[in-house]
Amino acid sequence: MLKILKYSFFDLMRSRWSYVYFIFYLALGFVLLFLNNDLNKAVITLMNIIIVLTPLIGTIFGVMYYYNSKEFTELLLAQPINRNKIFMGQYLGISLSLTLSLVLGLGIPFIGYGLFKSAVIFDFSLLLIAGSFLNFIFVALSYNIALSTDNKIKGFGYAILMWLFLAVIYDGIFLISLLMFNEYPLDKFSLIATMFNPIDLSRILILLKLDISALLGYTGAVFRMFFGTSFGMVISIFILALWVILPVFRMNFKLKKKDF
């Protein structure tokens, strides 16, 4: 598996798109710090971008890599390697190279700006951890979609829909249901609904660490009571991990019966 991982990783690290992605984050980091002149504010702006963008890029890279390397995967399947290992290697290769682009692209400008001497280092690391989780989650989800859909165009469509649903539509439904049922106690509902969407979960997790949760009103207080504690933090990370493990598990299950 490590060999496949290595080659997928290097193949991707050499592709133009990894550089574009890396340079985008690098430029974003520098521009934000230049405009804001404040690490703390830059972290908040970055969060808004990362929370939407990393899932989108992870989704697109995942489906694109799967469909583009299909014939090559077939060549690997004819080699004496377990097929699960081939796909796990590819999956980890994509996720790691995307994560590397993210961490290096944002890390370099922030370190240059004196991150290590500032108090936001914890918030910033949390941001990167959430971004990395989102990479792993969305590459796994998109790989699942690609494995279940032989038609490239359909696979792409489903993957983008999945992203759109989790990044935009889910929030819409969530908000509407909060409005509709605002006579009922909704704190438990909102807590649980947040858990079912990795994007929301990461957003809340970071927001609450940023000490701006006062803006969120009563629900914010409930959330703060939950996520603000180390217990809430552990639970959230655990659920993010579940969002990685379950799709990966389904991938391995699907592979047992898949024809190539």
Partner: protein
């Protein structure tokens, strides 16, 4: 050496293999023929473990191969379409495949024979279809395995490369290897094949030597003899 037993495979509603039984003995060149969509590639891919049959079993040297993978160390496969990661160079790809198999490889000889020296450091994405097929050939033949499976090996090759390919195949046969070929080029079959396996409607319709086929269809020309077999499907 290879035995397919009552093999069934459906893709959705389409029945591709319908209770296929086939025994292939060790040594020699077997041409797997049949009209488009007769299940040649499916048959080969089930042997490779890429397609998972609905029913039936496949034995290689007496051992079932279903759900296993280590047996593939003892076979070489040339896929129909060669498409490699565009960002790797030829030599990196060859090294990678070598790295994946715990076996000795003699790629240098093949690279020389097929004239690939000038391309070794080129990115695979920049190569032409025929050159990619040559790389594909190197990857397939560089290992010494008992069983060699070639799916449309002649695609995109220029005449000289084709001659070299035939030489390579004959040389491998001389070493006592078992070689399975699928192709639509009858001259290749006529020149190389010891035995023909003809698939129709997911079953073996004919198995035997070229002479036997010619005799059965009452036709001196192999191309016409095969056309004769296929035309029964169109009738």
């Amino acid at each position: 050496m290879i035995e397919f037993k009552n093999l069934h495979k459906k893709f959705g509603k389409l029945i591709v293999l319908d209770g296929l039984d086939l025994k292939i003995t060790k040594g020699g060149i077997f041409a797997v023929l049949g009209p488009n969509g007769s299940g040649k590639t499916t048959l080969i891919k089930s042997l490779l473990g890429m397609v998972i049959p609905n029913k039936g079993d496949i034995f290689l040297n007496g051992k079932s191969v279903l759900k296993k993978w280590d047996y593939r160390n003892n076979l070489n496969y040339l896929p129909q379409i060669a498409n490699f990661p565009p960002n790797l160079s030829v030599i990196e790809l060859i090294d990678m495949v070598k790295n994946l198999r715990p076996k000795k490889a003699n790629e240098q000889e093949l690279i020389k024979l097929l004239g690939l020296q000038a391309f070794l450091n080129k990115k695979l994405g920049t190569l032409s279809g025929g050159t990619k097929q040559k790389v594909n050939l190197v990857l397939t033949f560089m290992f010494d395995s008992e069983l060699i499976i070639l799916d449309e090996p002649t695609t995109g090759l220029d005449p000289i490369a084709l001659i070299h390919l035939k030489e390579i195949i004959k040389k491998e046969k001389g070493k006592g290897k078992t070689i399975l070929i699928t192709t639509h080029i009858m001259s290749v079959v006529e020149e190389l094949a010891d035995e023909i396996v003809f698939l129709l409607d997911g079953k073996i319709y004919f198995k035997g030597s070229i002479e036997a086929l010619k005799k059965q269809t009452d036709n001196d020309n192999l191309e016409h003899a095969i056309a004769n077999l296929i035309s029964k499907q169109y009738a």
